[in-house]
């Protein structure tokens, strides 16, 4: 565990899981799953379809309550730290959280409104950065699936939360977009942020940690 004087603040785990176990529809998804998410790391959750990758991410985000074990946030049990955790965590689900009737700018504005005040210029810059220049004021239902996903991803260019939980973010994104996201994640880790991703895409990143789900769950 954390030894005073030994580990600097940077090496204190943001998120720590001990003996996580989850059952779904009478099927054991994983058990005895323990891991730590340290600042400055990228962790990939691996496993075949139906192995519980999304479920694990939803448990970490606090969206799923059907689990047992221990979760701690910055060394303290998650239960008492919920508000601090929500302030410092960004979750992108496989449902992108985009309203199809609103434009990308309006969507981003609504998503950021609850987290940090952002000027519209910054939002437009972020959308430009995800390759949506010229589409900022088009209703999202007129955009392709990949473009809608990019609207959600534009949040990553503004977000300053230290922990990102990203579920299947590469879905419907083209090759150059994937490379850009990989670069972004790497830059994020270099800045001291922590990223947890689930993806079937073969990430080309050095120092990638992995959590393998499947028959035998282990770090």
């Amino acid at each position: 565990m954390h030894r005073p004087g030994y580990g600097a603040l940077m090496s204190e785990p943001l998120l720590q899981a001990v003996d996580l176990q989850c059952e779904r529809d009478d099927r054991l998804l994983f058990r005895n799953l323990s891991f730590s998410i340290l600042p400055g790391t990228i962790t990939r959750v691996e496993g075949p379809n139906g192995s519980g990758k999304t479920t694990l991410l939803r448990i970490l985000a606090g969206l799923n309550d059907a689990w047992s074990g221990e979760l701690s946030w910055r060394g303290r049990p998650m239960q008492g730290q919920r508000e601090d955790f929500l302030h410092n965590m960004l979750y992108l689900g496989h449902r992108p959280g985009i309203k199809s009737l609103l434009t990308p700018v309006e969507n981003l504005h609504a998503l950021m409104a609850g987290r940090q005040p952002v000027a519209e210029g910054v939002l437009r810059q972020a959308l430009k950065g995800t390759g949506l220049a010229g589409f900022e004021d088009v209703p999202c239902r007129n955009l392709s699936a990949g473009q809608q996903r990019r609207v959600a991803l534009a949040r990553l260019l503004i977000a300053n939360e230290p922990l990102w939980l990203l579920d299947e973010v590469f879905t419907a994104i083209d090759a150059s977009g994937v490379a850009a996201i990989e670069a972004l994640l790497q830059q994020r880790a270099a800045e001291g942020g922590a990223v947890v991703v689930t993806t079937h895409h073969n990430l080309q990143l050095p120092d990638l940690q992995s959590i393998v789900l499947g028959e035998r769950a282990a770090l």
Binding site: A61, G62, L63, N64, D65, A66, E83, D84, L86, H87, N88, M89, Y91, G93, H94, R95, P96, G97, I98, K99, S100, L101, L102, E106, A110, L111, A113, G114, R115, Q116, P117, P139, N160, E161, P162, G192, G193
Partner: protein, 232 residues
């Protein structure tokens, strides 16, 4: 890194409220549905039962109240459904502000979009069913106090049935029993007004319903939302 207090709760509630209004006004036909239903039900009664003035004066307030209740009930399924499907509900739950206040903001938006237009339309339909001026005023007042209660109680049912594929029937069965007291006192106060009796006791009771619903329903709806999301 971000450890500051972030956005104020009131600001976040306002953002939720304005976003819901914006989305609704991009889809105006959905907005008109409950209103149209309300008008159609009320106009069908004189045609289907009796156009007699004496009948309409007696039954008018009840007809309007029942039509308003059903039209709110019909619109409830949309309260969280679209947000659940496109993932915005997850993002709402993960906002750092107290969730019950954000849910309250969403419910308030629902009332502004369904209940309030019904109240505004009531004087016209009241004249149509031959209610006198005083009765119409009392009817509007009871609907003004009563429809937010319908939205608030309904938010609990809508949140509970979110994970289900066909939630409509179950939602009605869950919610209708809780609507009955509001209906009884709503129509009761108009009957009292028509008889020339004092309505203040009725209105005070309805206001008590509203106070109870505002303070309790968002908590119940929040708990129900978390359960539905946990299974989704």
């Amino acid at each position: 890194m971000n450890t500051g207090p972030g956005v104020g709760t009131f600001h976040a509630m306002k953002a939720v409220f304005t976003r819901d209004l914006k989305v609704a006004f991009r889809q105006r036909q959905d907005l008109l549905n409950p209103l149209l239903f309300f008008v159609i039900v009320v106009t069908l009664f004189p045609l289907g039962v009796s156009p007699e003035v004496s009948f309409l004066q007696e039954a008018g307030a009840g007809i309007l109240w029942v039509a308003a209740l059903l039209s709110v009930l019909l619109s409830l399924d949309h309260l969280f459904r679209h947000d659940f499907d496109d993932g915005t509900l997850e993002q709402l739950v993960l906002q750092p502000q107290p969730l019950f206040l954000l849910v309250l903001a969403k419910t308030l938006a629902h009332w502004v979009l369904t209940g309030l237009p019904l109240v505004l339309l009531t004087p016209v339909l009241g004249v149509m069913v031959h209610l006198n001026g005083n009765s119409i005023a009392v009817l509007c007042l009871t609907l003004l106090i009563g429809t937010p209660v319908l939205s608030l109680i309904g938010s609990i049912g809508a949140a509970l049935t979110l994970g289900l594929r066909s939630a409509g029937v179950l939602l009605s069965l869950l919610i209708i029993p809780l609507y009955i007291p509001v209906l009884i006192f709503g129509t009761g106060s108009v009957a009292a007004a028509t008889d020339g009796a004092s309505v203040s006791a009725y209105l005070a009771l309805m206001a008590a319903f509203l106070a109870l619903a505002v303070t309790l329903a968002p908590f119940a709806a929040t708990a129900a939302l978390k359960i539905s999301l946990s299974n989704g």
